[in-house]
């Protein structure tokens, strides 16, 4: 299919499809038609613009979160059940 026809087809995507395209852009390179169609849609669509900007900000926070994960700082949430804790302690001692 030709580039203009691809862009035309993509330009008819509603916000659901456009935010999916935008989301995909976070995960890897996109084709030229997709990139152009998304750009044009975002020029005129405030909610999609806002969605992608907020999701982008969240990704930055998530990067921090994953390093917190390994920092040893424990957040509240489910705890390792006591019987499992005891089971693991026993297996460590028995080795």
């Amino acid at each position: 299919m030709s580039l203009p026809r691809d862009i035309w087809r993509l330009l008819n995507l509603p916000c659901e499809g456009m935010t999916e395209l935008g989301s995909r852009a976070f995960d890897g390179p996109m084709g030229r038609a997709e990139r152009l169609a998304l750009k044009v849609h975002l020029l005129t669509c405030g909610p999609c613009r806002r969605f992608l900007r907020q999701v982008g900000e969240l990704r930055v926070a998530l990067k921090r979160f994953s390093s917190e994960d390994e920092s040893g700082r424990d957040l509240t949430g489910p705890r390792l059940p006591d019987e499992i804790r005891e089971r693991i302690r026993r297996s460590i001692r028995d080795r």
């Binding site: 907020q54 957040l75 705890r79 460590i92």
Partner: protein, 207 residues
């Protein structure tokens, strides 16, 4: 490993953190507990190879990550039918039938950057991540938090690229919405301003 690191202390120091890591990705308490136990046992065997270049927690999480991925691989072989299921078909729809916004994103009155130093923000993020539906959560966490390549995630979960994009999109929609309700949104912030410390939260200008 240094002398101060007695394996019996690992369970107290890292048990909960490792368990939460595994549970968020596997969702089954039994599988998560097994993965944590296997991690400690393997760490014990490999104790001599730990060089102290990374923190003890990072080293243990590195072992656990492989255990979790193995479990996810096995689970995907055992549940072939899950592959075909469209993720998120039961969630409330954010778009109408024509694909236009039904529940459009609202303005955030604070940004994630404002929350970085705030424990409450991490709690909210943690809660929202744990509410993601199972198949969506494992794809999203492996990709966004563990930093695996898209092709690796597809292979581990036995899904097509198209399916992975759909799951990532769904995860972003759900996570964004959950945090809007629990942290960023106008309703949440004005709630806190009323009940906690008025004047402390700087309001951002309109966007």
């Amino acid at each position: 490993m240094s002398d101060s690191s007695d394996p019996e202390l690992w369970v107290d120091r890292h048990g909960d953190g490792l368990y939460r890591y595994a549970l968020s990705r596997l969702r089954s308490p039994e599988q998560a507990a097994d993965a944590v136990q296997e991690t400690f046992m393997e760490a014990l065997r490999r104790r001599g190879t730990y060089e102290g270049r990374s923190s003890e927690r990072t080293w243990l999480i590195g072992i656990l990550r492989h255990k979790v991925i193995d479990q996810l691989r096995r689970a995907c072989r055992d549940r072939q039918d899950e592959r075909a299921r469209e993720p998120g078909e039961t969630e409330a729809s954010f778009f109408d039938r024509k694909g236009h916004w039904r529940l459009a994103p609202t303005r955030w009155v604070r940004s994630p950057a404002d929350g970085i130093e705030n424990g409450e923000f991490w709690e909210a993020l943690n809660r929202c991540l744990s509410r993601l539906p199972e198949g969506i959560a494992s794809a999203f966490l492996l990709r966004e938090l563990d930093g695996l390549e898209a092709s690796q995630v597809q292979e581990i979960l036995g899904i097509t690229p198209e399916n992975l994009w759909k799951r990532m999109h769904r995860a972003r929609i759900l996570l964004r919405r959950c945090l809007e309700i629990n942290w960023f949104g106008e309703a949440k912030v004005s709630d806190q301003v009323r009940t906690q410390n008025p004047g402390q939260l700087a309001r951002k200008g309109p966007d």
